[in-house]
């Protein structure tokens, strides 16, 4: 839950487990499409092949800009953009933060390698400290110069 940059994964009080949207996997495979898209009264939520939806949304952004919505933009549609593009992307009329969306979402595991290496560095430091403190001084053990 705390790792999702969009805060999508939620705790379900009823089941006592973490849940997220599955794109209605069962419905899609039976040709019904996701329930949210089916039920949306304004057809704001659309389901289909990604490249077709991106092309359609791109045209809509142009229209909106011509109408004076100068901040109109697609969020997550660009596959060269953040996270390699999202499978659920949005058409926004203002900057992402207006919608509580992160400007630059990142994958949470990006820190693991660097942080682990720095932890090892810290381990070496405290290890050296302990070696200095515990070393049996004043008693040559003979093996040192052999």
């Amino acid at each position: 839950m705390s790792s999702c940059p969009f805060g999508v994964v939620s705790f379900n009080e009823h089941t006592g487990t973490a849940r997220k949207c599955t794109f209605c996997n069962d419905r899609i495979h039976n040709g019904l499409g996701p329930a949210c898209a089916k039920a949306c009264p304004t057809e704001s939520i659309q389901f289909g092949f990604r490249d077709e939806l991106v092309a359609k949304a791109g045209k809509r952004v142009e229209t909106l800009k011509a109408m004076g919505f100068k901040d109109a933009q697609l969020y997550g549609a660009d596959q060269k953009g953040f996270l390699g593009g999202l499978n659920a992307f949005f058409l926004l009329l203002a900057k992402p933060s207006t919608y509580n969306l992160p400007e630059n979402p990142k994958v949470p595991q990006r820190n693991v390698v660097v942080d682990s290496l720095l932890s090892i560095g810290s381990a070496v430091l405290v290890g050296l400290g302990a070696l200095l403190a515990f070393r049996d001084r004043g008693r040559g053990d003979g093996g040192g110069h052999a």
Binding site: V112, G129, D136
Partner: protein, 267 residues
């Protein structure tokens, strides 16, 4: 909107005791390997302390499940080679080898200690790396969360060992002086890492450096948990009561560190 993980006291305690278990084992392994006979009690206490604590860690995690019987789900894919189980195993073997019929195998016990020590380091630090692998800016932007937890695990582990030595040992104990000496290094390293951590975080450090949790962080951890014990140790000149007080303060500080870090971003 970012969501927080709903972690409570079980997790804070797990982070805290995991740090002490790893730190105590590592202290014991170093004392066992380079400390000579005068440090033998340090090794004994360190190994023996890590064992119940790592067991407690497992119990805390099971209790935190909310539905503790879900722990049984994990038994379907029984893995004894995960670092925590392995550390428990090393802790058990090292503890047993301090006694009776195994005493003449001290050389083997020392070797085992050197390997088990690595798992002790892992148990003490991975919890910090775990926090940094989230989307929470305060947890993930500092780069030194794991390093900080490790230094704190070392300082609290050494404080716990020194406290037990001070409370149980009569007369002069050269091992105790060495643990206190090592603990001073750990505390200094922890202070430096903490300062770098806050500097790297910048404004993302707000949850602990200002606001509701700030008094606990500055007063409880930085002042009472690190600076005061260091001063006590330097001016105390080996006086036992002051040393024991310093160790208690370090332990309280180690708990406060985990507490403010886990709780400050969850309202």
């Amino acid at each position: 909107m970012l969501k927080t993980p709903d972690w409570g006291m079980m997790i804070v305690l797990y982070f805290f005791f995991g740090g002490i278990a790893g730190g105590a084992y590592f202290t014991a392994a170093i004392a066992d390997n380079v400390g000579g006979p005068r440090s033998s009690r340090v090794a004994l206490v360190g190994y023996l302390l890590s064992l119940p604590l790592v067991a407690l860690c497992g119990l805390l995690l099971i209790a935190d499940l909310g539905v503790p019987t879900r722990f049984l789900n994990m038994m379907r894919t029984l893995k004894f080679w995960d670092p925590m189980s392995l550390f428990g195993l090393f802790s058990f073997v090292s503890s047993v080898m301090c006694f009776g019929p195994f005493e003449h195998m001290a050389r083997l016990r020392r070797r085992i200690g050197l390997i088990g020590m690595l798992f002790g380091f892992f148990l003490a630090s991975y919890t910090g790396v775990l926090l940094s692998a989230t989307a929470q800016p305060f947890w993930s932007e500092g780069r030194l969360m794991g390093a900080l937890f490790l230094a704190s695990g070392a300082s609290t582990g050494m404080a716990a060992v020194s406290l037990i030595l001070a409370l149980t040992g009569g007369g002069s104990n050269p091992g105790l002086a060495k643990v206190k000496h090592a603990d001073r290094y750990s505390m200094i390293i922890e202070l430096v890492v903490l300062a770098l951590f806050l500097a790297l975080l910048g404004s993302a450090a707000r949850p602990i450096v200002s606001g509701h949790f700030a008094p606990l962080f500055w007063g409880g951890l930085v002042a009472l948990g690190l600076v005061v014990p260091l001063v006590l140790d330097f001016v105390g000149h080996g006086r036992k009561a002051l040393g024991a007080l310093a160790a208690v303060l370090v332990l309280v500080g180690g708990f406060i560190l985990r507490y403010v870090i886990v709780m400050s971003i969850q309202s």
